[in-house]
Amino acid sequence: MALMQISEPGMSPEPHQARLAVGIDLGTTNSLVATVRSGVPVVLPDAHGRPLLPSIVRYVDAHRVEVGYAAQARQADDPKNTIVSVKRFMGRGVKDAAHIENSPYDFIDAPGMLQIRTVAGAKSPVEVSAEILKVLRERAELSLQGNLSGAVITVPAYFDDAQRQATKDAGRIAGLNVLRLLNEPTAAAIAYGLENAAEGIYAVYDLGGGTFDISILKLSKGLFEVVATSGDSMLGGDDFDQRVFCWAVEQAKLPPLDPRDMRRLLVKAREAKEHLTQHGEAPITAKLSTGDVVDLAIDTETFCSITQTLVQKTLNPMRKALRDAGLRPEEVKGVVMVGGATRMPQIQRAVGEFFRRDPLNNLDPDKVVALGAAMQANVLAGNKSLGEDWLLLDVIPLSLGIETMGGLTEKIIPRNTTIPAGRAQEFTTFKDGQTGMSIHVVQGERELVSDCRSLARFELKGIPPMAAGAGRVRVSFQVDADGLLSVTATEKTTGAEASVAVKPSYGLADADVERMLRDSFEHAREDMHARALAEQRVDGQRLIEATRAALAVDEKLLSDAERASIQAAVASLERLLTATDHRAIRKAVEALNHATGEFAARRMDEGIKRALAGRKIGSL
C-alpha cells in the first residue's frame, strides 16, 4: 500500500537505489569483505557464517584452485602449491622478500616481481592475490544479489608504489572496479572516528600479519586528515612466528627441515604465539616426517625475550611519525590498536609506555579495517549526500624522486605530502649535442639511489642538439588519490616538446593484466563477453546519470550549442546501452567523456567560487 510521501524541495521522494559497493581488507593472514547495509557497516560472512577468509591459495592442479580454509587445511601436505602470506611478495623481487630461506616455495626471479612455481605454472603474487579477491567478490555478489559497482581495497599505509600498483592490478584481474586504494590505518580511523565521534589527534598502531603502520591523524567533524605516517612493510605477526620457529628448531636441535616439516612447525609456532596471549605457557608439539618428535613448551618470558627486538622495531617509526607531525607523544589523545598481532600483551605494554596512556582496544582488530573500507566505499559510490559524508585527506608514505649525477637521489615529492600531489622540477642537459636523457624514478628516504626502491627507468628522446646546459627538461610527478605515481618529462627550450608517460615498471604491463584477466575467466568458465557487456553497461549508465546530475545543477555554464552536443552524446550512448556490442558502448562512453571535458573543468572552477563565496567577507 502506497502512503503519501512528503519530501523536501529538491530531494527526490525515493532516493535512487544505492549502488553496491564493498570494502575489502586484503590481509597477509586473513581477508574480509564488508559493506554498508541500511547505514550500518557489516562484514559479509561465507556460507558457513565465517567472517574471515584465510589469505591462503592452493593450486590443486592445472585448473583447480582452493582458497581459504580448504587451502589452509592442506598447507602442510602440499606446501609448494599452497601460498601463504602472499602479500609479503607483492611488488617485490626475490632479493627483497624476507624469510626466503624459511619459505617452502620455488621462487622464480622474474624481472620486477618474483614468481612462484606451482603445479598450475608460474604464478605472480598479483595472480595469487586476485584468487583471494575473486572469492570475496563472489561472496559479496551472492550476499548482495547483484553485480558490484565498485570496491575499496585497503593497503598498508607504508606500501610503496610497486606494492600499491600490484594490489590494484590484482583487483582488476579479480574483475573488481577498484574505486580506491585506502590505507589500512586510515580505514581503521574512519571506523573508529565515526563510531566514537572522536575529535583531536589520534594515532593508529596497526600491526598485521606481515606489515606495520603507524599513522597520526587529525579528526574533526566531517574530516579525516592524515598528518604523518610511517612503518615497516616487512614487519608483522609472521615475524613473531618465525622467531618461535627458530627457537624451536634450536631447542630441539633439528636438522634442516623439508618444506612439509617447515610448514608444519611454522603452524605450531603460530599456535603457540596465539596461545600465549591468554596463557603463561604454550606447548609446541609436532611429529616430523623424519620420525623426530618435537615436544617443547615456551613460556611468556622466553617469548618476550626472543621477540623483544621486533617490538622495539615498531618504536622508531612511531618516533619518526610524531616528529614529522611536529607532535609530542602526550599530545596524542588516543591510540587505536589494529591488526591481530596487537593482541600480544608485550605490544600493548610497549605502546602504552610509549604514549603514556592505555591503548584503545574497543574495536575488533581483525574487522575494523574492512568496516572502515566499506564506509569509504559507500561514500565513493555516491550513496551519501553532501553534508552527511566526509572528507579524507591522506599522504604518501615515502619520498619520490629521481636519480641525479653521482647516483644521488633528488627528492621531488617529500614523504607525508597530502595527495593528490604534483610537482615538477627542471634539469639541464650536461653534454654538448645531447639528444636524449635517461630518467630513473626512485622512492625512499636515503641519499643514495642504490638504497632506494627503483620504480621506473625511461628515456626521453628527441631533444634537439644544443650546447651543454642549454636543454631544459621538465620532469613532472603526479600522485593520484590511490597514492600511485605517473611521471612525464618534457624538453621545452626550443618549443619542440617530447614527452613520455610512465607507469612504474614494478607494476604489470597493461597487456599482462589483460592476459591474466582472460586466463582467469577461461578457468572460471565465465562468459567473458557477458561480463564485459555487463561492466560496460554499468559504466555507461553511471556516466549518463552523472552527466544528467551535472546538467541539472550547472546547465547555465554551457552555451546552447555545447549543451546540445553533450545531450546528443548522452542520447547516442543511451541507445547503445540497449544493444549488445560492448565495444560500441565503450566508444560512446569515451565520446561522452570527451564531450564533457570542458564542462567538467568549468564545474570545478564554479565549485571553488562557491566554496569561497561565503568566506570572502570573513577573511579579507
Binding site: N316, K320, T417, P420, V589, A600, I608, R615, S619
Partner: protein
C-alpha cells in the same frame, strides 16, 4: 604567475590568518576532491585530480613561512634566489657554523631537543623580521635576504630530524 592567495580568497601578505586559510582549503577540497568524483566520468575525474593537486600545492606553499614569503616576494617581482645567491653576512655564517658544530656533537635526544628549541626561537624571531619587512616596510629586497637566512635555519631543522634517526 599564479597567485596562490587568490585561490583561497586571501590578500597576499606574509602574515596569514591560518584559520581562514585552513577553512577555505577544506571548503574547496570538499568540492573538488577525487573522492567526490570516484563514480563520475573520466573528464570530471581528470579535472578533479588537477584541481586538487593545485589546491594542495598552493596550501603547502602558504602554510610554510619560507615558501609563503618567497611567494609574496615573487608576486612583487623579487626573486629570493635560494640557489644562486648564497652570500650571507659573516656573523650569520659564524652562527650557522656554531649551530652545525653543536649538531655534530649532539649524541643523544636530549641534546637534540635543546638545539631544536634554540633553533625554533631563532626561527620565530627571524619570521617576525620577515613579516615586518614585507608587510609593514614593504622592503622586498631587504626581506629577500632575511628569507634566505630563514631557509638556512629550516635546512638545519631537517638535519636535526636526520640526526634523531641516527641516535635512536
Amino acid at each position: 604567475m599564479q597567485n596562490h592567495f587568490e585561490l583561497f580568497g586571501l590578500t597576499p601578505a606574509f602574515a596569514v590568518d591560518a584559520e581562514a586559510l585552513e577553512r577555505s582549503y577544506r571548503e574547496i577540497q570538499s568540492r573538488v576532491h577525487p573522492d567526490r568524483f570516484a563514480h563520475a566520468g573520466d573528464a570530471e575525474r581528470r579535472a578533479s585530480l588537477q584541481w586538487t593537486t593545485r589546491v594542495n600545492e598552493a596550501f603547502q606553499i602558504l602554510k610554510n613561512p619560507v615558501t609563503r614569503a618567497r611567494h609574496v616576494l615573487e608576486l612583487h617581482g623579487v626573486d629570493v634566489a635560494f640557489e644562486t645567491n648564497t652570500a650571507m653576512p659573516p656573523e650569520f655564517l659564524m652562527q650557522q657554523m656554531e649551530l652545525r658544530e653543536t649538531l655534530e656533537n649532539a649524541k643523544d635526544a636530549a641534546a637534540l631537543d635543546a638545539l631544536r628549541s634554540d633553533l625554533h626561537r631563532s626561527r620565530e624571531s627571524l619570521e617576525k623580521q620577515v613579516g615586518e619587512a614585507i608587510d609593514r616596510k614593504k622592503d622586498y629586497a631587504g626581506a629577500a635576504g632575511l628569507v634566505r637566512k630563514l631557509q638556512f635555519l629550516e635546512k638545519l631543522d631537517s638535519e636535526i630530524d636526520s640526526a634523531y634517526e641516527k641516535v635512536e
